[in-house]
Amino acid sequence: MIYVELLVQGVLLGAIYALMAIGLTLVYGLLRILHIAHAAILTLGAYVTVVVTNATGSLALAVVAAALVCGIAGVLIYQWAYRPIIDRPLVALVASIGIYIALEELFRIVFGPYSISFEAQPLDQRLSLIGFSLTAAELVTIFGTTALVLGLATLLGRSRLGTAWRATVTAPQIAVAFGVDLEHVRRLNFLVASVLAACAGAMVAILNNVVEPTMGFVPGYKALAVIVLGGLGNVRGTLVAAILLGIIEAYGTIYLGSVMDRDAIAFAFLVVVLLIRPAGLFSKATR
């Protein structure tokens, strides 16, 4: 039944990538900034989850705390770092990298270079289904991600806020002419992206029970591959691309392991897709 297990593995990976990538595509779609520091938000979310759970014993409280802390951190990064240099994306990119390095180091200095873990691993009950078993953590990841993404899609598609948001991505000047508060939308953008990253961090923490300073980097840059595949600002496309990537990675590790590093598979996939469809898998008509 290894194929099913690999599939599940792939979907789990994909869920994490999706949460990261959706945040990134929202930021990139809106501001054309590659928000590399986003990877540090994931790590922050993971650390807060573990620390608060260990301190209070309540996982739910920890996740809420993580979402809060990361949301605020994300908005602050926008406010203090990106906003003044918003018209210079390359400068913002290097600034973002500087922020990522600084945050990664802060985690190392505060929490130590070695990993920290939950004192009592949460959600480790196993459930047996036909032919394979899942831990509660894995189920929560899958359903949690689905819920979050559906919630976001509903927000984007059916609310006034969502309409304002989408308008700002597509045609900022016209949106402003219609009375949309640009700053409000941007801050909200970072808030949502960071909360999603916090959830991703919490899930990784629960799934692996290992939280260390550099953990955000790999999911972070794979999410970059996903946003290209999914198409700019296209939440649905990003989700599908993320899951697809997760599955390809899970199978690829077994079958392509002798040709390339596991982590390079994501970009091999990206390069292959771009050669066939330069605009990405699911992008809408290019401008």
């Binding site: 590659l34 290097v94 600034a95 840059y221």
Partner: protein
């Protein structure tokens, strides 16, 4: 006697060459490349393999440059198809792919790389002089390029690709030329690097290294030759200055990157320009100029 200083000078020179090569691609032609270290690596591995085959240092410079340049053209052609917005991520991917594939090739030393690269036979002083010489040549070439017709074409492409096309500039060809030039020079830097450190591995040419080179370009002032050279020199020495704060080294580096970008986005070139205007050595620049990145 001056061994340490000579080593330092050599490292600064190699970094300057790397930064200047990226400056042509990203600074002049506006193509954001996040995987530049891969081309340095291509040059380095070529040189290392040739060195193991007893090819003399000066001879190995050329194949290293050519391999890197050809790779650059191939990547350049592929990236022409990619939407401009995504060039950065694609080049990031190429860089990571390079490292990922090299790591799995036993012929190239796998994860351990190639060690025991023979000496260049020039002596520490001779090698330092050679490296600085090449750096000067590259810098002069960069300045000449900037002022040439090609430089103007690059500039217009960086500014507004579509308008450049309308005006009759063959945008894809010029982009490819920029890629070819930048990556060829990167290959030279790679060869020099291989002989300087005498051992290379896939991890010497990954994302962190690409970002470091990019930082030199952006902190120096995108497109500015003087700024980029100074930035390369300073960033080469910085880790050593930070030695006394051993544990906080990277934290300081990251913070510095952020602070400089946030408060002086024009980089060292902007700082020099402002200082020059203050002393009266430079003309005042109208607010609209230099607004691009």
């Amino acid at each position: 006697m001056f061994d340490y200083q000579l080593s330092l000078l050599t490292v600064m020179g190699i970094n300057a060459i790397m930064a200047l090569s990226l400056n042509i691609i990203a600074g002049y032609c506006g193509q954001i490349s996040l995987g530049h270290a891969a081309f340095v690596g291509a040059g380095a591995y070529t040189a290392a393999l040739l060195a193991k085959l007893q090819v003399p240092f000066l001879v190995s410079l050329f194949p290293a440059a050519v391999v890197a340049g050809v790779l650059g053209v191939v990547i350049g052609i592929a990236s022409l198809r990619v939407r401009h917005d995504f060039l950065a991520i694609t080049t990031l991917g190429v860089g990571l792919l390079f490292v990922g594939i090299i790591r799995q090739q036993p012929a190239l030393g796998g994860a351990y790389g190639i060690s025991g690269i023979p000496s260049h036979e020039l002596g520490k002083g001779g090698f330092a002089l050679f490296v600085v010489g090449i750096a000067v040549v590259v810098a002069v070439f960069s300045i000449w390029l900037k002022r040439s017709w090609m430089g103007t074409a690059f500039d217009s492409i960086a500014d507004d690709e579509d308008t450049a096309r309308i005006v009759g500039i063959d945008v894809p060809v010029y982009k490819l030329i920029a890629f070819a030039m930048g990556t060829t020079i990167a290959g030279v830097a790679g060869c020099l690097y291989a002989y300087q450190v005498r051992f290379i591995g896939p991890d010497s040419f990954g994302f962190v290294e690409s970002i470091t080179i990019l930082s030199m370009v952006v902190i120096g002032g995108i497109g500015s030759v003087w700024g980029v050279v100074i930035a390369a020199a300073v960033l080469s020495v910085l880790p050593l200055w930070f030695q006394f704060v051993q544990d906080y080294k990277l934290l300081l580096y990251g913070t510095l990157l952020f602070v400089v970008m946030r408060f002086v986005p024009g980089g060292i070139a902007a700082m020099l320009g402002a200082a020059g205007r203050l002393i009266g050595l430079a003309r005042a620049v109208p607010a609209s100029q230099g607004a691009r990145e």
